[in-house]
């Protein structure tokens, strides 16, 4: 698959009064053309900062991309000027945010907001841009698009607003769509509608999608490949089937086991002990070691690299190197 976006060694740090927060600390992600990649992790793992880095929307100060490159087609996004970046944003790379209530401007009509995007990037006159806006709204399944285009955002429900945001993101046929928790704020039945819509748009336009979410159900349904982040680093990467059937990293396993399933009956849920460490208390060595049931001595001091397992699966865990075979809850190599 031809890579569309290639992030390598990305480090985005925040320089605060309390010290440097390494939100993203050496992340590599590749997204192929027409591929949907899921970026999974809990709050504070750096997944949103990664997406903001791609859009160059990290606020400076305090945040800054300190190292690494983000190759989009043949340009390095990190080195682009603000003017060049503006050309890419909304045109080649578009973004959908989590909260449809705050991502639309309340004082402009929906039509105005979509037309603005279209006219910034495409040479269309007002009339044509407006008719394109109506077409887009129809594409995303908004009824009475001709009237809705003149409405203000507050007149629409959450699901409808998210459709408008998607229509706006798709306005210039972007090559990459970054969806940051696009359905988290929505109800399940509306979530099903939106996911359905995103699948359809992807099929029709061949858009690549970077899907940022904490919901593993959404990942299983939408993504081709999954990247799991923890403490600002990628801890596992695999295609979606491998990740759900043969996860390698203890964190991924823990995550998968801790979600209650709608199909299975379990008395107790397996849970990962402890909490996500706060940035200033990030442990040395493996970031996950304090919560890991397989942690060995070297995990406390040394930091594992991202090991290749085969079949495109990678895991940041010493157990891979040690060749330790472990499954479920049996620990065969707890002490080294």
């Amino acid at each position: 698959m031809k890579p569309l976006l290639n992030i390598s060694g990305l480090k985005t740090h925040f320089f605060t009064a309390e010290g440097v927060v390494r939100s993203v600390d050496g992340v590599d992600i590749m997204i192929g053309e027409g591929e949907t990649v899921g970026l999974v992790g809990e709050s504070g793992c750096g997944k949103s900062v990664t997406s903001l880095s791609i859009m160059r929307l990290v606020p400076w100060p305090p945040g800054k991309i300190v190292e690494g490159s983000i190759m989009f087609q043949d340009k390095d996004i990190v080195c682009l000027s603000e003017a060049e970046m503006r050309d890419i944003r909304g045109n080649d790379i578009a973004m959908i945010f989590q909260d449809p209530m705050t991502s639309l401007n309340p004082v402009f009509t929906i039509g105005d907001q979509i037309v603005e995007t279209i006219r910034l990037h495409m040479k269309l006159n007002k009339k044509k841009a407006l008719s394109r806006a109506v077409d887009l709204l129809k594409q995303v399944g908004i009824p009475r698009a001709e009237q809705i285009v003149n409405e203000y955002p507050h007149r629409l429900s959450g699901g409808m607003r998210q459709r408008v945001v998607i229509a706006m993101a798709m306005a210039c046929n972007p090559k990459l769509l970054i969806a940051d928790e696009p359905t988290t704020a929505l109800d399940v039945t509306i979530q099903a509608q939106i996911l359905d819509l995103m699948r359809k748009l992807k099929k029709d336009n061949g858009t690549s999608i970077l899907m940022i979410t904490h919901d593993l159900g959404v990942v299983a349904e939408m993504c081709d490949r999954v990247v799991v982040m923890y403490g600002g680093k990628v801890v596992e990467e695999a295609d979606v089937n491998t990740l759900f059937t043969a996860p390698s990293h203890p964190y991924t396993k823990g995550l998968l086991q801790s979600i209650p399933s709608i199909d299975q009956e379990k008395e107790w849920l397996d849970s990962i002990p402890g909490n996500v460490p706060i940035p200033s208390e990030m442990p040395e060595g493996c970031k996950f070691a304090p919560r890991c049931i397989y942690a060995m001595e070297r995990c406390q001091t040394e930091e594992p690299t991202l090991y290749e397992i085969g079949n495109g699966q990678k895991s940041r865990c010493f157990l891979v190197e040690e060749g330790a075979r472990y499954d479920g809850n049996t620990i065969e190599s707890k002490t080294s």
């Binding site: 109800d187 399940v188 509306i190 099903a192 209650p260 399933s261 709608i262 008395e267 849970s271 996500v276």
Partner: protein, 323 residues
């Protein structure tokens, strides 16, 4: 487990919609519209539904934190729907609430010890030194440590705060705990810790839960029986096994099919509902679900279906099964 702890009959909560300079009432939002259910001692009754379906209003009306418009609430056989607020306060010893947002529900200016000790002080339970001991006990029960007692809420993570919220609810040794979305603000790995804790506490202390949530897999995990709400009404109420394996109401069927499954190989037939939930200020007549229902009949537009038992306590409010 057949002893009824809480009995709710014809519970209604209408919020007036006021408009104009005189603030005249021009209509009502029927947040909860005539619902009946029982909670048995020692069980967990789950209440699911989408935003705006009235599940939280139901929980709060039971505690009379929101004054219900109409209906009877019986706790341990005693009608509490007309008890005066002063008397109601003594009832809070037996009925407690766990809130959704662990950030907003704890007073940031009080230490954990004050937060947990306050309900006991209000109810005049224990001497101050006993209270302190009890606070430490409570902290241990919910998986925190005694040294946490001197800290302020901001020093804790979301999961730990929710544990404090649970400890506070348990401080008075209640019989019924109403959990209003207790895990929806938490990360998955923390969510499972809190769910396990709630379950363990139920077994140890013999608690009864009313568990309100929108996440169907979470509700299934924790509940014995589940009620599904839509626009202020209970459309289906059953044991979780029969509800999830054989949902009867078209809304429940759509709701269950819409849940994304964490298994990429499994492709299920999805029922995608058209449109949005209608506004509760102007709900459709007859069965409130009829504009979105694929099996809608003529009678559904005019007549409200009643919740009826179709064997084994599987109750459903749908005209499809009334013939």
């Amino acid at each position: 487990m057949t002893e009824t702890l809480l009995k709710v009959r014809h519970l209604k909560k209408y919020f007036p919609v006021r408009q104009g300079i005189l603030q005249r009432t021009i209509g009502y939002v029927k947040a909860v519209d005539d619902i009946d259910f029982d909670i048995f001692r020692g069980e967990t009754l789950g209440l699911v539904g989408e935003s705006g379906c009235g599940k939280s209003t139901t929980g709060r009306s039971i505690l009379r934190l929101i004054e219900p418009t109409d209906g009877v609430i019986e706790f341990e056989g005693r009608d509490i729907s007309n008890v005066k607020s002063g008397k109601m306060r003594t009832l809070y010893r037996d009925m407690q609430l766990i809130f959704q947002d662990p950030y907003a529900s704890l007073n940031p200016r009080k230490t954990v010890e004050k937060l947990l000790g306050e309900p006991m002080a209000v109810h005049g339970m224990y001497t101050p030194s006993e209270r302190k001991k009890r606070v430490h006990e409570l902290l241990e029960v919910v998986g925190l440590h005694a040294y946490h007692a001197a800290r302020y809420p901001h020093e804790f993570s979301g999961g730990q705060r929710q544990r404090i919220g649970i400890a506070r609810a348990l401080a008075l040794q209640p019989k019924l705990v109403i959990c209003d979305e207790p895990v929806s603000a938490l990360d998955v790995s923390i969510q499972s810790q809190v769910l396990n804790l709630l379950k363990q506490l139920q077994q140890e202390l013999g608690l009864t839960y009313l568990f309100i949530a929108h996440d169907l897999s979470v509700v299934k995990h924790i509940s014995d029986r589940i009620g599904v709400m839509y626009l202020g009404r209970i459309v289906e109420l059953s044991h979780k096994k029969s509800l999830y394996s054989k949902p009867l109401h078209p809304y429940t069927q759509a709701l269950l099919s819409a849940v994304p499954v964490a298994n990429p190989r499994e492709k299920r037939d999805r029922i995608i509902l058209e449109g949005d939930v209608p506004s509760p200020a102007n709900p459709p007549g007859g069965c409130t679900f009829h504009p979105r229902c694929s099996a809608c009949m003529d009678i559904c537009r005019t007549e409200r279906p009643l919740l009826r038992d179709f064997g084994d306590g599987h109750m459903v409010a749908c005209h499809l099964y009334n013939q």
